[in-house]
Subunit: 337 residues, 2 copies
Amino acid sequence: MRRFATIKDIASALNISVSTVSRALRDTYDVNASTRQAVLQKATELNYRPNFNAIGLVHNRTHNLGILLPEITNYYFSTLFTGIQEVAYKAGYNLTLFVTGNDAEREVDIVRNLSLSGLDGLLVSVSSQADSDQHFQEVIDNGVPVVFFDRVSENIHTSKVMQDDYNGAFEATVHLIKNGYGKIAHIAGPEGLTFTQARLNGYLDALRKHKLPVKPSWIVHSGFTQQHGEQDLEQLWERREKPDAIFAVNDRKAIGAILALKRKNIRIGKDVGVIGFTNDPVAAIVSPSLSTVAEPAFEIGKLSCELLLKHIHKKRFEPEQVTLPGKLIVRESSSRL
Amino acid sequence: MRRFATIKDIASALNISVSTVSRALRDTYDVNASTRQAVLQKATELNYRPNFNAIGLVHNRTHNLGILLPEITNYYFSTLFTGIQEVAYKAGYNLTLFVTGNDAEREVDIVRNLSLSGLDGLLVSVSSQADSDQHFQEVIDNGVPVVFFDRVSENIHTSKVMQDDYNGAFEATVHLIKNGYGKIAHIAGPEGLTFTQARLNGYLDALRKHKLPVKPSWIVHSGFTQQHGEQDLEQLWERREKPDAIFAVNDRKAIGAILALKRKNIRIGKDVGVIGFTNDPVAAIVSPSLSTVAEPAFEIGKLSCELLLKHIHKKRFEPEQVTLPGKLIVRESSSRL
DNA sequence: CTGTTTTTCGGTAACGTTCTCGGTGATTTT
DNA sequence: AAAATCACCGAGAACGTTACCGAAAAACAG
């Protein structure tokens, strides 16, 4: 049954004290080179592995970071994770991943029952603008640093890293306008989420700046999936006046819209322009290919993790807010040839 | 600084012993209902959270499971993870995720440095048929149960759960044959991986059974990405005799092939049939839509985790090998209308 | 009432590690 | 040669929790 060689085993095998072994195993100071050598050799011989529970107990740190995500089956969040893991791995931290499935209740449940003593810090993208962010505040109050990314919580004072949703949406909308589309609809995400609101605002301001009509009936809110995108488009097409372009809150919904338009035999690009947000690899694969605003998912992941590590290592580290720019990528779906 | 309420704080606040508090916090036995009540109340009042390091130290278990994946930015592995997490969450286990990026060296590095004492078990999909599986055997020898899934290691005696790659490939190939394609090529994965070999064998046996030519020049091996698929197809089209159908080892490569064929103005389905493997959501989105063999990723994840938990809980549990069937999904890319 | 069982609780060791504090000798300084 | 310094090592407490054992108090049996 589960039995590792411990520091004590090494000590008794070598007839020295555990303290000496402990020192030998870490820094070289205060221990003779030869005994140190003997300890190291015995350690590999016995296949010694440090017990992280014990170390965590005395140091009150575990080299474990928690990540809380709404979902993982998705290009954006999975590359984001890859970015996080990139810096965590180099820094010697392990990552414990929690996925809420966009369920706010589950989020609270997870955070409340979090084995906080097993985590040195927490990276989170909130599942929905929960009525209360109290559960995150509790974590912070317990002395565990939290960094928000992408879907951030506004009420909590801590580091956050986001992409520039407002400007991305603004540029996307302007791009449609410059390509001759004048009746631009917006297929949005659920109301209440910060970044959904930011993209909506970018869209609205672009319209206003170019003196284009803002029609509330051309703005429809729902979830983030492709199916939602299809439904939203059907809804738009029931309107008396139909739009001639669509700015979708993300690529999955944009693709849903494209599929629905194709079913109606509407020529995408020519009759109706479409642009998304994210730059999911599918955007390049789908036909016609989808214009979009590329999000720096990988960089956001890296940056968030670096920030969290700073919080952990410095005693007092002032929260930072970073906003990374997106990048307009023009493809067929928004080009009137 | 990081300071939680401990069991001792509760004890001294209530003027009782720590052992009593400890008992009250867990089972009801051996403790008076009223004191139990008082303890529970004080615990929430002080916002008590159990210290998992301490518990792990005395019990030698941590309620932490490790997952080792080649990648996560990918439909298959991310839904697989979701399946794992589904059962882990209900069982009260946390998941520590390690992604190797298909780097065999990194895999060894991760496994060797694994804080094994922090994990109750390990779920792994190997990154490549490493020259040696020694590092996994070491983990098992240390008493940490390991369950393989999807990409399994043949030399290690432990539980494994896979999909039926052979029969899936066989059916896919037969499907192409029945639809009138006679010159079927195979865009395979890297040589040496078990499941790559299984799909190749299914393909070969289907050809043989239907007395179709097996041409080595119609079988090309490379990586798993869409780019690889495009390159493989280009390579096939340099052959003297070109195939009229393609069975790809996965959907991403199949889509690469489709894109390359489209660039050549070859009508997919009519001129050349294409079928993939996985049932990535893109398969339904791409145009023409891609026929494929659906893999039960979510179920594989669930089953693997259940098996691992069995290994952890029973003292001696005989390794099980489970093979789940795939499901042929016919779409446009393989239909000669 | 006495003796026995049950209920409820406390003391203490243990888990594996680090850390602080001394304590040897040996070596150097004055 | 005494004093100070140095290199190296050990004892023991501490981290937060559980487990084992026994004791006091209460309940019960005769």
